[in-house]
């Protein structure tokens, strides 16, 4: 294997990893505050995709459709909290988890009924499909955009969490929800905020996801939520830093398997990456980043 090929694949993995990290952050955000693994999270990616499709077939440009798609994911995320989770605040853990499955099924079937069970496609701007040459390397514009945008969003998120009053309150609520209430943080507001941020991240990740595959199906949310879930579990449940680490680890794993395995074995990449995840958790059951040491 040539050095060029390795560098090429590292770039590929970095791009994919940044997207996984971004999406996993949105899932970890709600989990860290509410303790809920929101399995309707993948449907926020779906909502972004279909919103973009709806607007673009009516002649709206890609960038505008993308922004409105992100807004739609954010609004749906907040509405999910208000309708499906807020009324169950005192209910059992299982009830809330099932509520998230219900939201997922309802959104998928609404799309099947109102739009179509068959795939829909959108035209991705040609510029995103181009390949630029950097010295000996050829890099897809979309990979570059994915990496740059994900990184920028993550830096903004960190700045928000470190510097702003609400950001510090979110971290405090994630560390100790009850004491956060004792110092005056309103429980419902901080939970709503975590869903808004979660929706924003799913929306931005969703635009990049849709740009990668160019189309959408009602059940397309499964892959992103599963990838995010695995990333969050690898990284260590409930820590945001862990979600980022987990996202990159998963992406490098997938790309490495893709490169190293013979072509007949490639259909098993998903299964094999899950095996590696199991091994990681066997060695380090709390994930790679422990909650106690998170800064």
């Amino acid at each position: 294997m040539t050095v060029e090929l390795i560098v090429q694949q590292v770039i590929n993995a970095l791009s994919r990893g940044s997207l996984y990290a971004l999406l996993a952050l949105g899932l970890a955000m709600v989990y860290s505050v509410l303790g809920l693994m929101n399995f309707a999270y993948g449907e926020l990616v779906t909502v972004t995709g279909y919103t973009m499709w709806f607007l673009m077939v009516r002649g709206i440009s890609f960038p505008v459709a993308a922004v409105i798609g992100i807004v739609a994911a954010t609004v749906v995320s907040l509405l999910t909290e208000l309708t499906a989770f807020h009324p169950l605040r005192r209910a059992s853990f299982a009830a809330i988890l099932f509520s998230s499955f219900a939201v997922s099924v309802i959104i998928q079937n609404l799309i099947r009924q109102l739009i179509s069970p068959r795939p829909r496609g959108i035209r991705i701007p040609a510029a995103l499909d181009e390949v630029v040459r950097l010295g000996p390397f050829y890099i897809g514009v979309l990979s570059l955009v994915t990496f740059a945008l994900s990184l920028a969003v993550m830096i903004l998120l960190v700045a928000f969490l470190q510097r702003s009053r609400w950001g510090i309150a979110l971290r405090a609520a994630a560390a100790d929800f009850e004491v956060a209430r004792l110092v005056g943080v309103r429980a419902n507001r901080i939970i709503a905020l975590s869903f808004v941020i979660s929706g924003l991240l799913a929306g931005i990740g969703g635009v990049l996801w849709v740009s990668r595959i160019g189309g959408m199906t009602p059940s397309m949310g499964l892959t992103p939520v599963l990838r995010s879930f695995i990333a969050v579990v690898i990284g260590g449940l409930g820590t945001l830093r862990g979600a980022v680490v987990g996202g990159f680890v998963l992406a490098f794993l997938e790309v490495a398997l893709h490169v190293l395995l013979p072509s007949w074995a490639r259909p098993f990449i998903d299964a094999l990456s899950l095996v590696v995840v199991v091994v990681i958790l066997y060695i380090s059951p709390e994930g790679l980043i422990r909650k106690e040491v998170e800064a």
Partner: protein, 237 residues
């Protein structure tokens, strides 16, 4: 200042507190003593609105607060230092303090409170950029109290501040409570450490199995320890 009347509260369908009545006057240090499981923490959780009573009432300065959420009770001037210190993990000392002043929107006011806190707790200023959980037990207790003081309360509730501290540090914490009272704060202290609590308190309630067994002056109880011990151990005196 604080009046609790026939308070019955608990979790689910199980009552932990039965018909608790007590009062704390302005400027007092009142101690609630009792063994593990006597219901002391449940009492404090009910007073600050984390738990709502099934029956009875809690009044602060004449106004009913037993249906209010925690942030409203804090706004009225009642702050709790929770059991086990419960420093926010992953937040620096300064961020922990800032969270204490979460309800105060004015930056200048918050900074002023911080510098007041640093005068009282110089070690917190030294370590302000350190993560809260890296402090020693005694320093964490100072931080927990300082965090509660950042809301500028008029009444401070403390849940077993001596827990897990070396005897010398317990003494320091109790001395601090005396200083705070000098500065106009009213204190309700829940403790298992009877001797230390009796030294600092004006009045004492002894709880066992969710009821008040004894009410009296700390000075009287210091003199006649026998009665106190029997009630403390859960027997009806």
């Amino acid at each position: 200042m604080l009046e609790v009347q026939s308070l019955t509260a608990g979790y689910g369908s199980v009552d932990v507190l039965h018909q608790i009545s007590l009062h704390v006057d302005a400027g007092e240090i009142v101690a609630v003593l009792g063994a593990n499981g006597a219901g002391k923490s449940t009492l404090l959780r009910t007073l600050v609105g984390l738990l709502h009573p099934r029956l009875g009432s809690v009044r602060f300065e004449g106004q009913g607060i037993d249906r209010e959420p925690p942030e409203n009770i804090l706004r009225r001037g009642v702050a709790l230092v929770p059991e086990g210190r419960r420093i926010f993990v992953g937040l620096t000392v300064l961020e922990n303090l800032l969270m204490g002043a979460y309800l105060e929107p004015r930056r200048a006011v918050i900074e002023e409170r911080c510098s007041d806190i640093y005068k009282r707790f110089p070690v917190l200023e030294e370590r302000r950029h350190q993560l809260g959980e890296t402090l020693s037990g005694g320093e964490q207790q100072q931080l927990a109290i300082a965090r509660a003081l950042m809301s500028q309360p008029r009444m401070l509730l403390l849940d077993e501040p001596s827990l897990g501290l070396a005897p010398g540090l317990v003494h320091t914490v109790m001395g601090l409570l005396r200083d705070l009272r000098e500065d106009g704060l009213t204190v309700l202290l829940v403790e298992q450490n009877v001797q230390e609590a009796l030294k600092v308190a004006d009045r004492v309630y002894v709880m066992a199995s969710g009821t008040i067994q004894i009410e009296g002056d700390a000075a009287e109880l210091r003199a006649g320890g026998l009665e106190l011990e029997r009630a403390y151990l859960g027997g009806v005196a």
